[in-house]
């Protein structure tokens, strides 16, 4: 029976995800090291998701056929400690796949990913948030997802509610929150968990203008504190302002890599 997964392929992977060994490199200056990273998705012609489907497929005969879609192809780059690094590219270029591999959600097919320290993936705001729980309970849940201990979470709770300007609503269930309040809480929770490496996917523009400014300030503060930020964005303006270096991905390959200013120029030229 053709298995829908590749056992042999997985063995070859030696990705150390989430800083498993705690150090990205020997001299300790790199926060993220990506070497020869490739990720391919198999898109079967006929999706088989049950034993029954496989049985029917065997009786009918015919082989297991699929298309291979290459989302990332031999991508290598390094992000230094304390650097703010941008990733840009058109839709479907592999940005999200890259972020998911870095976050450890997807396993690469080839190559290595090494991340030094604790990583906070903001692939989406409010991951794990439960609408039936109160704001405080959600903060505890999120902290636990980030691997914080109970004491660490309790220590941050006040600060998070303060920053989100939601102190009054700490015991209100999330389902009664407005969408603005929801994102404020999510953003505050995420930035306060004190990660070493932040993966940010288009989440800088949340809430009203006052809160947006606060977020920008917070991001700036995190940068000054020497944290590493990897920013994926369509907003070229903020990439140019915030990032020192930038990566331009197209169809899963690196098209340009270098100073943010030049790479953004290059991107604009190509896209016209």
């Amino acid at each position: 029976m053709p298995l829908p997964f590749n056992l042999a392929g997985l063995k070859a992977i030696e990705a150390v995800i989430n800083g498993g060994d705690g150090a990205a490199d020997r001299n300790g200056n790199d926060a993220i090291v990506v070497e020869g990273l490739s990720k391919r998705f198999r898109i079967p012609h006929e999706k088989k998701s049950t034993f029954y489907d496989h049985l029917v497929g065997m009786v009918r005969g015919g082989s297991y056929t699929y298309e291979v879609f290459s989302a990332l192809e031999d991508v290598s780059f390094t992000v230094g400690r304390g650097e703010t690094f941008g990733v840009i590219g058109p839709n479907g270029c592999g940005k999200s796949t890259l972020l998911k591999v870095l976050a450890g959600v997807l396993r690469p097919d080839a190559g290595r990913v090494r991340i030094a320290g604790k990583i906070a993936p903001f692939l989406e705001l409010g991951v794990g948030f439960h609408t039936e729980l109160t704001a405080t309970e959600n903060i505890r849940l999120y902290g636990a997802i980030m691997g914080l201990s109970r004491r660490q979470i309790e220590g941050k709770r006040e600060e998070i509610l303060e920053f989100a300007e939601l102190k009054r609503f700490e015991n209100m269930k999330l389902k009664n929150f407005s969408s603005g309040m929801y994102v404020k809480l999510a953003f505050s929770t995420a930035v306060q968990t004190d990660p070493d490496v932040l993966l940010v996917d288009e989440v800088l523009s949340v809430g009203d203008e006052a809160f947006q400014n606060k977020c920008a300030e917070k991001i700036d503060e995190i940068r000054r504190a020497g944290k590493t930020i990897l920013l994926v964005s369509h907003d070229l303006e903020s990439v140019r302002d915030l990032c020192e270096r930038c990566l331009f991905l197209d169809e899963g390959r690196i098209t340009a890599l270098g100073g943010a200013e030049e790479v953004v120029e290059e991107y604009l030229r190509r896209m016209q």
Binding site: F5, Y52, L123, E124, G128, G143, A144
Partner: protein, 253 residues
Amino acid sequence: MWIVEYRELIRILTVSDLKVKYQSSVLGFAWSLLNPLLMMLVLYAVFKNVFRVDQDNFALYLLIGIVGWRFLQNGTSTSMSAIVNKPSLVTKVYVPRQILVLASVLSSFTSSILEFFVLVPLLLFFGVDLSINVLFFPLIHAVFLLIVYGTSLILAALYVYYRDLNQIWEVILQAAFFLSPIVYPISIVPEKYLGIYMKNPATVLIEMYRETLLYGEPPSLGEIAIVIVAAGALLLAGTVLFGRLEGRFAEEI
């Protein structure tokens, strides 16, 4: 080690699972305890009167079997969907995915302990003398926990790829229910099958519960060896298989 690092998440997920389980029915907690008692009454009536089972203390014999079996049944069937039911914790953020399975198993484990606690007054009511051998209970239940966890790892990982596994597992559980001495005494098993029959870890576990709780005897070394080997094998198989299949969870969910 992920169990230590993420202990807070494991605790929160387990507690919220229990809350959902007990809040979703009107009678809540009481209902979950009433369920095995009512099932015992039905089976007692059928097997005592229709099949004329002759077994001392048959009511308690049945009840211990049912309560023990319920942990295996509820634990594995609910934990099977532990990964599939929490897509955001699989596709949006990285946490060791075993946590989701473990929390679900621990929630069933807690329920099971509560059910055994309710058993104690019933044992006393029916005039059973509890001996010091009751102290073997935590050991037996801990080994049982490992067996259920190992099995659940295998099921939860396969369920991501084969969504009709729950149907198949239901049938397997039903067969195993009748292949274990839950509703009938071991004495009716033909002698030539007895050797292999007594190697079944589920049989051994249920017999151990009866020995320690009902008959006041310690479990034999042979029995302890069988369940520990079974627990080790399932835990190893579960961990290896889960690790292999985990790589594409985020793509399949």
